[in-house]
Amino acid sequence: MTAALIGFAIVLILVLVRLPIVFAMGLVGTLGFAYERGGSIFDERGLKAAMSMVGRQITDTAQDYGLSVVPLFILMGLFVNKGGMARELYAVSNAFLGHMRGGIAMATVAACGGFSAICGSSLATAATMSKVAMPQMRRYGYSDELSTASIAAGGTLGILIPPSVILVIYGLLTETSIGKLFMAGIIPGILGILFYLFAVRWTVWRNPEAGPAGERATWSERIRALGSVWAVLLLFFLVIGGLYGAFDFEPLNLTFSPTEAAGMGAAGAFLIALFRGGLTVGSTFEVLKETCFTASALFAVLIGAQIFSNFINLAGLPEALIAMVTAYDVAPFVVILMILGIYIILGCVFESLSMLLLTVPIFFPLVTSLGYDPIWFGIVVVVVTEISLITPPVGLNVFILKGVVGDVSTGTIFRGVTPFWVADIFRLALIVLVPIVVLYLPEQMGALGH
């Protein structure tokens, strides 16, 4: 156990001097594994054992069939972008909400939620929506705090509402069903939208100047806007419906595995973008290229995480934690609260993926040994991860906004984000106290095939 804790500390230090996570976790994991097998980090047999494990991880992780959803969902998100669907989503939510006080920010949150349903990454959701929604909010005199915050917070939904790259990685690390994790994310995701809408209302109630009302759209305008989002709805229905079993009837009898859903989604988004003239050979190539680069970096980091988690496993840290909790007779709920506290603190400095990779191998065995549902814990982890994206001082979604918008300070954005952050804490409490919110849909799905 001591070895694991020392290893963990060294990884933190290496990561903080900006060594890429794959190298930090890979190095410590390899030497730690050698130590566990050979009794010293210089033991020849221990090192050979560790290198063999590392070599197999390198070749096997990149060839893990279940992980093929990662590049395919990234690809889908990028094609969706080219198809102009983000703009349409925004237009339709604006037509319905824009006339209220703070309505354009509310429309932004709703559009972020919709975009999350076809994009697997929070950063991509925030980046895309900031290009679409920011100019509008500026035009109507919305405060920088509210406009940037609604996008930064709304964007976090990208990893909770399926598809989600983070849920896929959680599923891989813990061997839980990715299809069920996706289903489990839907209700908490919708709750997220609702809670953020309240956060917007609260902001404009405190300061009406922050979000003046926009123009009221006529019903014919609204219906026209609705007519243009068919592509988004189609894709969402294809992917989520397919996963859930909505096409499971004669003669189709079709239910998608996550990989198939991702492949169908990507191909569907490609065809829609192509059909709408949004794609050239050059831009298709750019999309493919960006996907490959992102996927390559993600796979690299996963390899590092697997190596590190093998060391943690061999060093017996999870067993030691479980033994400790049993010895001191800590109530399971107190353990959960402590874990959540640790996540919120880590969330200050870590971005989503690093936090997940570092903590899941340690906490997962403990949490499941206490009798908690692995699917439920996955959603809890993703929600705290979402919170980390907007928690200062390091909040990646905030930085994305700063990068795209430019002339706003991160301090301003973090200030605007505060009510959204509080809304997140309320949502987290709800999910922790009322697990059925998470587990209802996956349990329905478990009935498939009966």
């Binding site: 903080l16 890429p20 390899t30 590392v54 069939y65 290229k289 996907t291 490959c292 690299a300 980091v301």
Partner: protein, 167 residues
């Protein structure tokens, strides 16, 4: 020095194209597999093993480029601190060189494992594709990654101007 770097940059277009083609095939194949399975009751039997191979190709083709263009996921919390102390460049040099050297051992091992698979005659299930070919490809990719990372680190240290244009 500069002509060599330009040559390397031009040559790096090839693996990118290979990766893009692999990804496009992966997408198209998954789509066709679902359609063939549901409409014609005839799934592509080898789809799983082809998926695996295509993923290895797309991930490892671009790994050297990702590794030398600051593409790895890292925590930039202390960037401002290093910048203020004028240590950013020194830190980058160390990180590139150390990371590159670190890869020397995995490269050897992946190679040993590939040769072992060749000796035992391992093949894929449906198409009987020898698995050592994938192992060789991964070895090559990681070896190139190691070399270009070390080279990038050294260039950053001794000839930072040669790296100033975007890759």
């Amino acid at each position: 020095m500069t002509p060599i770097i330009q040559l390397v940059r031009r040559a790096s277009a090839l693996p990118v194209i290979v990766a893009c083609i692999a990804l496009f095939i992966l997408m198209a194949m998954t789509f066709c597999d679902v359609i063939l399975r549901s409409v014609f009751n005839a799934p592509i039997e080898a789809a799983t093993e082809l998926t695996r191979i295509l993923m290895a190709i797309l991930v490892f083709s671009v790994l050297p480029i990702v590794s030398t263009t600051n593409g790895h996921i890292a925590v930039d919390l202390t960037d401002g601190f290093f910048h203020r102390l004028h240590l950013s460049r020194a830190r980058d040099v160390v990180i590139y060189v150390v990371s590159g050297i670190m890869l020397f051992w995995p490269v050897q091992r992946v190679w040993v494992l590939a040769e072992r698979a060749r000796d035992y005659g391992d093949v894929t299930e449906y198409l009987s594709i020898p698995t050592y070919l994938i192992g060789w490809f991964i070895t090559l990719s990681v070896a190139i990654t190691a070399l270009v990372m070390i080279a990038t680190g050294l260039l950053k240290a001794f000839a930072p101007n040669t790296l100033s244009e975007p890759m």
